[in-house]
Symmetry: C2
Subunit: 196 residues, 2 copies
């Protein structure tokens, strides 16, 4: 079991056919998730390509998320979290916190992605839009997007099956200025388990 | 007046304060649109960052689209096209047409972006998700996305004000296998005018 510490990121190599269990340990924690082709980091899971492929903005059971080359990379095979995730919002970054009024450095998912890959000796070629697991951003009235607390409860999880050898990365989102990680705005740890 | 030929792409340098008029000449033509910071092509208009900033999935009058550094780059200041545009779908690419069953090379917006910038001696550092002007991809029931014909009519246009010196690129989408460019699936030319 891999801990994704509160406010931090981790990455792990996953072989085709293995399953990735992402656990919302405390229940209100968003986990930004990325996947890169292990043989070519320039091919990666893409939200804008996946929405075309799955014909929805929130993946459901059986939906294969695809890369920027339209190839399946992760398939959602199980979900006990309430089924609410986000594909619309960018990973937070230093500029997001500056916009929110933060004067000092703030942990952020973009830097967490880079740190997670760096621990494997890798560099992300760019910061793809993440699959924001457990993040609750409804589209209201067909256009407006709202930031709401997650609907998941402690121990809720999703299982994603790898459709190719990949490098998966996760960030326990450090957002504590808007209620994306719950109304208490207190980021917590999450966990990841790789299943054969 | 710059013609964006049917199925092709063009790029143009735009100074801060200039306005870009994108005209749907024939009325049913999607125009994929990008903007890059002229001084640093790694900073570019980002749909996933813009949705956070404007709090909606379709920009309206007065909305400033932002870069991947959260800075305004283009503001929508006028729209006679019916106000329906898309920020959810990736630019089409060779793999999209392969998925649709195309055996030979098919013109595509991703290559059109590269060709448009190449004509200026530039190379896009990546293919950002485009602002798909006039493209009609409603989110139905809060989740499902549908491909529908544009609502715009001949001569409908949008005007975008440049908030920084930028390189803007446009592709008259060559999609002729799904009705994104109208039920006749016949891509046409569009036009761009740079206004002082």
């Amino acid at each position: 079991m891999i801990e994704i510490p509160a406010r931090k990121g981790r990455a792990v190599r996953v072989r085709k056919g293995q399953r990735i269990k992402v656990i919302n340990t405390k229940g209100q924690q968003v986990v930004d998730t990325w996947a890169f082709n292990a043989d070519d980091l320039h091919e990666f899971m893409s939200m804008e390509h996946s929405r075309v492929a799955i014909e929805r903005i929130i993946p459901g059971i059986g939906d294969a998320l695809v890369t920027n080359k339209r190839r399946p990379i992760l398939t959602l095979v199980e979900d006990t979290s309430g089924g609410i995730h986000d594909t619309l919002f960018a990973a937070c970054d230093r500029w997001r916190y500056e916009v929110l009024g933060c004067k000092d450095y703030h942990d952020n998912c973009t830097d967490n992605l880079a740190a997670g890959l760096a621990a494997l000796g890798l560099t992300p070629p760019e910061t793809p839009a993440p699959l924001n697991l457990f993040m609750n951003i409804p589209v209201v009235g067909g256009n407006r997007v709202e930031v709401r607390p997650p609907v998941s409860t402690p121990g809720g999880y999703v299982v994603l099956r790898a459709e190719m050898d990949c490098v998966a990365a996760f960030s326990a989102c450090p957002q504590d200025m808007v209620p994306v990680n719950g109304l208490e705005m207190r980021p917590t740890e999450a966990h990841v388990d790789i299943l054969e």
